[in-house]
């Protein structure tokens, strides 16, 4: 791994005058603005310097006359941002999908919401907005206000290019979603099936696009905490934590130690809850109902702890700017510890089950294999990447909350199949239990929040959190008022969903749910 300084030096050496300016967004995070057209070279240089680097997100910001595009590249232990501006009238920029295929969806999203054309994109179709959305309305541009977004658009139908059976190819089109028992949330995947073998997969997301990024601009920072929590019900605390720590970075607020530990506890509870939900759901997808019922029963232990800690079972509303909203009661600590011990006993049972059960094994071993190279190329994050042997974890790479003081292991498996992805999660639940136990034992005393002003000084910052599904990315730009100028959210599933196409093609129809569920897709996150 190359250090960030080395990459920055390589950038300035080879781009030279094409760099317009270099500045620091927040300590350790550099922003390099390059001339339009040089962005691709810049991205290529970073990818060459660090072979484990990947484009984390592409953010668009409306600057009035121009649209600023930011390529956030995840490298070593930080994020390097490469910026380029395109005129709003003629918004065109060269696509980077040929050097980094994982940027496919990121570019399509920006194209949908900002009207930037990415030249050379292999599949420049709509991704987020409905098919019959008016041609020249780009919701995240500033001239489009919430008031003039059409409330009712035309009749949404099946697009014309969809056929059930084409006789000459003998491929049957099986549509997975938007309503399908294997998908809890609505997204559409068109599978072209030859007998029982999947030949092509075409994903289409956007069915639960709620325009949260736009809505965040018309709410205060305080209101936005509750808004971003509702991006995803399962990992809500991660969204709140990520948003709050990004805003805190702009404000320069430091959070008291007790609050950092309490945040760690709720974030880890969130992870256990999410992983167990997924592992149970995986059982359901491969027809193992008993596993599903057992997992979800034991997950109730965590729900009880969440309720004791935050007062809520699911949406925690616990983390706020400057700390947390409630303190942990001393008398709850032994109860929480007892339940964690109980959970740990159950975990050894599940671990044994996942390692020894024969039917579970033949349904998940060597199914949906994603090699390490493909994982890096597609820019996957979280347990999906770790299941393919990519050693990345924001908790260790760029510690937030109290992770720099708590010892824990990053779990990786090299197999890259569905089983490995499930095992990563199962082992991480054990690690999370250890983290919570350590945090409870070493909980500092003192205040659990600091009061902060409602307005935020001008500035911008990037926040990253290791959500249960992987790296969660926030970019917040402030204009000095109580309302943010831009809130960008890149959820882990949005980064992972492209890999589904890769692992499903060539596989068996019966394996689609098993390999799909091992990615732990969350579509509310994906669409926002």
């Amino acid at each position: 791994m190359a250090s960030a300084d080395k990459i920055l030096k390589a950038l300035s050496d080879s781009l030279g005058k094409r760099i317009i300016q270099t500045r620091t967004l927040q300590p350790g995070k550099s922003y390099i603005q390059v001339q339009t057209g040089a962005h691709k070279d810049a991205v290529r240089i970073v990818l060459q310097e660090d072979n484990e680097a990947g484009v984390s997100a592409i953010t668009g910001v409306d600057l009035g006359e121009t649209i600023e595009l930011m390529y956030h590249i995840r490298t070593c232990d930080t994020i390097i941002t490469i910026g380029a501006e395109v005129p709003k009238k003629d918004a065109k920029i060269e696509s980077i999908t040929d050097i980094f295929p994982g940027a496919n969806f990121h570019e399509r999203e920006v194209s949908d919401l900002f009207g930037v054309t990415f030249e050379g994109h292999p599949n420049p179709k709509r991704l987020i907005l409905p098919e019959d959305w008016p041609e020249n309305v780009f919701p995240l541009r500033k001239e489009v206000s919430v008031a003039n977004i059409p409330s009712k658009i035309g009749n949404f139908g099946v697009s014309k290019d969809e056929k059930h059976v084409s006789s000459e190819e003998r491929l049957v089109n099986i549509v997975l979603g938007p309503q399908h028992p294997a998908l809890i949330e609505p997204e559409k995947f068109s599978l072209r099936v030859d007998g029982e073998i999947v030949r092509e997969v075409e994903p289409r997301i956007g069915y639960v696009h709620r325009g949260i990024e736009k809505a965040a601009e018309s709410r205060t920072y305080l209101q936005d905490i509750y808004l971003v929590e509702r991006i995803c019900g399962i990992c809500n605390a991660c969204h709140a934590a990520c948003f709050c720590q990004t805003v805190e970075a702009i404000m320069g607020v430091s959070v008291p130690p007790r609050a950092r530990y309490l945040r760690t506890i709720i974030l880890e509870l969130n992870r256990i809850h999410s992983h167990m939900l997924l592992l149970g759901h995986a059982g359901l997808e491969i027809g193992y109902e008993t596993l599903f019922h057992y997992m979800w029963r034991d997950r109730e232990l965590i729900m009880d702890i969440m309720e004791a800690l935050t007062g809520n079972r699911v949406i925690a509303s616990f983390i706020t700017i400057g700390g947390v909203r409630r303190d942990l009661k001393e008398e709850d600590v032994p109860k929480i510890k007892a339940e964690l011990t109980k959970l740990k006993e159950r975990l050894s049972f599940y671990k044994n089950l996942f390692e020894s059960d024969s039917t579970l094994k033949i349904r998940t071993r060597n199914v949906g294999v994603l090699s390490k190279q493909d994982a890096l190329k597609l820019g996957v994050v979280g347990p999906v990447a770790r299941g393919s042997g990519v050693n990345m974890d924001v908790r260790r790479d760029e510690p937030y909350a109290a992770y720099n003081e708590i010892p824990f292991n990053v779990i990786t498996y090299d197999e890259g199949d569905s089983w490995a992805r499930l095992m990563v999660r199962l082992d991480e639940v054990g690690e999370s239990v250890n983290i919570i136990q350590y945090a409870l034992d070493h909980l500092p005393t003192g205040p659990y929040r600091v009061r902060v002003p409602r307005t935020v000084p001008t500035g911008e910052a990037i926040g990253r959190v290791e959500a249960p599904r992987g790296e969660l990315f926030y970019y917040v730009k402030s204009n000095g008022t109580a309302y943010p100028e831009r809130v960008k959210v890149r959820t882990p599933t949005f980064a992972n969903i492209l890999s589904f196409v890769h692992i499903a093609e060539g596989g068996n129809v019966a394996d689609v749910p098993a390999s799909f569920v091992s990615l732990d897709p969350c579509f509310s996150c994906t669409d926002r």
């Binding site: 029982e196 059982g283 027809g287 008993t290 019922h293 033949i362 349904r363």
Partner: protein, 328 residues
Amino acid sequence: MSLDLNFVFRVLVFPGFAFILLFTMFCDWVERKIEARMQNRMGPIYTGPVGVLQPLADFIKLLTKEDIVPFNAKNFVFRFAPIVSFSIFVFSFAFLPIDGASVVSGSNFEGDLILVLTLVSIANFLLFLSGWSSTNPYSAIGATRVLTQLLGYDIPLFILALAPAFLAGSLNIAAIANKQYVPFAFLIPWTFALFIINLQAELEKDPFDVPHAETEIVAGYETEYTGRRLAFLKLAKDVQMVLGAAIAVELFLGGPYGPIFYGLSAVWYTLWFVLKLLIVVVVTEYLTCIFARLRIDQVLVVNWKLLLPLALLSLAVTVGVGLWLNPL
């Protein structure tokens, strides 16, 4: 021909139609309750005492639902496959001695074992037709899976059923059941174990429930069915479950025959039959709960590479041991 009241009673009430229907629903309840308890759930509890009337309530509810026939599926097969399939399964019960006697005198004959097994195959084929005629991609895939699986397990099932027939020296189900002073399940446990595994495939239960793997192909061949047609399709599957278990009871567990302590033999025979059948139901449910669903290609591997050779081997061993113990 005058109307014989005994004949009408035996065909329509006991041990005929009404008994089979009620017993099927009872078995459905037992099945659901066991599965629920094994999975740490409650199962049906509200309808009737401990939820025993839940299957009946579900059936009546489906009967009252709107009956929708898709435009492309307006054909004879789609309309009649469920009811014909149901009838064949119920009809097959006429050859099984439930209370120790045949349902109507003379309904038992030498070779009815082959007839029953054939009828079951035909009824299963009708399930395939019901899915195929739905003209829905999910149904079509579910239907082809039924057929693929049918080819795989039907042959081992026939072969396995021959072992008890050989030991009893008869192809008459009642005679096979009657000959078992010691149930064949104890004499030839390997055949019985294979038969139960095969039964799982026949009944589309885990690990062989691929034809209606809901996370892959919605409800498989049932997808387009609604209302009363779905009610009969579901009932047909339930009757099939009881029939499958009943065949296992007759062939391997000594049928209705068991010790009679006092009173009417018919009561005792029915009781033994019901008890033995419930044991088979419990075993199949247990297997359902501890397995994940296999993939269709893996099912075929299990059927052709494992069950078929093992069935042949077990038949050979049974014949060999039988001849050694009791030379011709």
